[in-house]
């Protein structure tokens, strides 16, 4: 026993003791699940009966209309969050970074607050705001504009818009902060000398701010793609469950959940998961290439 303790305290053994919790977690909750997913994706799993079916799950996936809807929704949602949650927060950050800005701290806080609400609470609020009764907030706005009330969450376009709007509400402030911290590194003299050279606000934005916050833009781009493709809870809350009318809010993860839990087709759900895994890996590798991080982590 004393020998073992001495062994643990050895300077050559200590690093392994330090990283041990990660190694265990990695094996139990990562490697094992990944391998199981791969295995299950080639199986048909019923209680007490597992049959190997080869590529049948994947073949079915190719012809699955609902899966295609889910993929389309996930990509469309990701596209819209990127299209709205990068340019606007960047522009806001630049405005906030300007010398003429007053009350920076206050507005920073005000725009950041939505993200501290959980998706569950935010989803509840948005679900009710986009309610189909005439008196719901968004229908009041329509009435005010002289339009007739609509069933927001039952129509594809408006339901989707509600989902994207909720993402914008929660994340604009955070992304703005990311860009602000990126902009802080730019010396104000750079803008001043550009101004003296006759560059207007747009040119300064385009040729000084954008190139210099590029690392931040890439970072925000990556986390947004990651979050967009893995989105589930937003849709789940907005439609009070995983089943939206005509699947207008169904995402890839939602489909995995439906197949795996609601319909108990573990094998098929695993195939869905693996497709997403491959997509996530591919995007990450591209991103690491772009950032030049890959192969740099040598010590």
């Amino acid at each position: 026993m004393r020998k073992f303790v001495a062994f643990l305290y050895d300077q050559r053994v200590a690093p392994y003791v330090f990283v041990l919790p990660f190694v265990l977690t990695f094996i139990i909750f990562f490697i094992y699940p990944v391998l199981t997913t791969i295995q299950m994706s080639f199986q048909d799993i019923l209680p007490g009966m597992v049959t190997n079916v080869g590529f049948k799950n994947y073949e079915r996936l190719l012809g699955d209309r609902i899966f295609r809807i889910a993929v389309k929704n996930s990509f469309l949602y990701t596209f819209w969050t990127l299209a709205l949650l990068i340019p606007f927060p960047l522009a806001f950050a630049c405005m906030m970074n300007s010398r003429s800005m007053v009350g920076r701290g206050f507005f920073k806080t005000a725009l950041f607050v939505p993200v501290v609400t959980s998706v569950v609470v935010a989803g509840t609020i948005f679900r009710l705001m986009f309610g189909e009764v005439d008196g719901s907030l968004m229908n009041t706005v329509r009435t005010f504009l002289g339009l007739s009330p609509i069933k927001w969450l039952r129509v594809r376009e408006t339901g989707f818009a509600a989902m994207v709007l909720m993402a914008c509400w929660r994340w604009t402030g955070v992304n703005m902060l990311y860009f602000l911290s990126g902009l802080k590194g730019i010396p104000p003299e750079m803008y001043e000398s550009a101004e003296i050279d006759g560059a207007n606000a747009w040119q300064r934005f385009r040729h000084i701010s954008v190139p210099l916050v590029k690392p931040t833009i890439i970072y925000v781009l990556t986390i947004s793609i990651y979050a967009g493709l893995a989105m589930f809870t937003e849709s789940y809350m907005l439609w009070a469950g995983n089943n939206s009318p005509k699947n207008i809010g169904l995402t890839i993860v939602g489909y995995l959940y439906r197949q795996g839990w609601e319909q108990n087709r573990m094998g098929y759900a695993s195939a869905v998961g693996l497709v997403l895994l491959v997509v996530a890996m591919a995007i990450n590798l591209v991103q690491l290439r772009v950032m030049g991080v890959l192969g740099k982590e040598r010590d």
């Binding site: 139990i28 009041t140 911290s181």
Partner: protein, 291 residues
């Protein structure tokens, strides 16, 4: 002449900026205002007229909050509900998970930052790999894993897979590489053990890193939804997020408590945020400034 023109120009810019950001903040604030107002109105009102900004003093009262905290409804009847229990569960989970995650992840991050050992690069690549894969993909086998380990329906099932938390490890490792290794050597000269050095010399130095990550881990834990929903079975053990979700039914029969409860659940995290804003923002932005 020119300088006064410039001053005028910057005053105009000032006014435009203030108006712009005030409007933006106001729009952002509307959903909060809507739910705050609704929390004072009866649930049926919400079903009939939806969530809106109408002020109707005759309808508004503290009845929902009274029901939330005492179980006594509008009509004076006592109807038990689990809101306070869920709230307590969430607090216990968040505090425990945050404390343990920080400890375990700092422990691992220190190993990666301060030692050279065989397999280090490989293992660190594994950390990055975990960072890249959304958990949602692995939820099925993780669930059966948790089930076979007897971790279902307990907060250990929620916490255990995330104590050695890849993001946190990565962050602590980055933080610790900036600490001079001389401290460790000095500790060794003084006869401290490898673990003694970590506990007595390094942990005190990590305070700023702990605060930044505590906020981030705590917020994630408080708001976590999908994994706890899979792990927890009995209503007695639900966290706030899961419990509130069960109240969101199409019939709206629980809206009294759902709305007041949602509203009240924002308060602790909001207070925490407002009082530790700097750390919140540090924690969130640290990853973006080139990791």
């Amino acid at each position: 002449m020119e300088s006064s023109q410039k001053r005028e120009y910057s005053l105009a810019a000032r006014v435009v900026l203030v108006i712009f950001f005030s409007t933006l903040s106001l729009v952002v604030f509307i959903p909060f205002l809507a739910i705050l107002l609704a929390s004072f109105k009866p649930g049926e009102e919400l079903i009939r007229y939806g969530l809106n900004l109408r002020l109707d003093w005759d309808l508004m009262s503290f009845a929902n909050y009274k029901y939330l905290f005492t179980g006594i409804t509008r009509t004076g009847a006592y109807i038990a509900h689990d809101y306070l229990l869920w709230f307590k569960n969430s607090v216990v989970l968040t505090v425990t998970q945050t404390a343990l995650t920080l400890l375990v992840s700092a422990w691992v991050g220190y190993g990666f930052a301060m030692y050279r050992f065989k397999g280090k690069n490989f293992l660190f690549t594994c950390v990055l790999l975990v960072l890249m894969i959304p958990f949602e993909i692995l939820m099925l086998p993780m669930y059966s894993q948790a089930s076979s380990m007897g971790l279902l329906d307990s907060i250990w099932g929620i916490m255990l897979p995330y104590l050695a938390h890849a993001t946190t490890i990565f962050f602590f490792r980055q933080f610790l590489t900036s600490i001079p290794k001389d401290i460790v050597d000095a500790g060794r000269v003084d006869g401290a053990s490898e673990y003694g050095i970590f506990v007595r010399l390094i942990v005190p130095l990590m305070k700023p890193a702990f605060s930044a990550m505590a906020i981030l881990v705590g917020m994630n834990s408080w708001n976590n939804f999908l994994w706890p929903m899979l792990v927890l079975r009995s209503g007695q053990k639900y966290t706030l997020a899961i419990g509130l979700n069960t109240l969101l039914t199409p019939y709206g029969n629980n809206y009294d408590i759902l709305i007041a409860g949602s509203c009240f659940s924002i308060i602790p995290i909001l207070i925490l945020f407002l009082s530790a804003q700097k750390y919140f923002i540090d924690g969130m932005t640290m990853g973006s400034v080139k990791g």
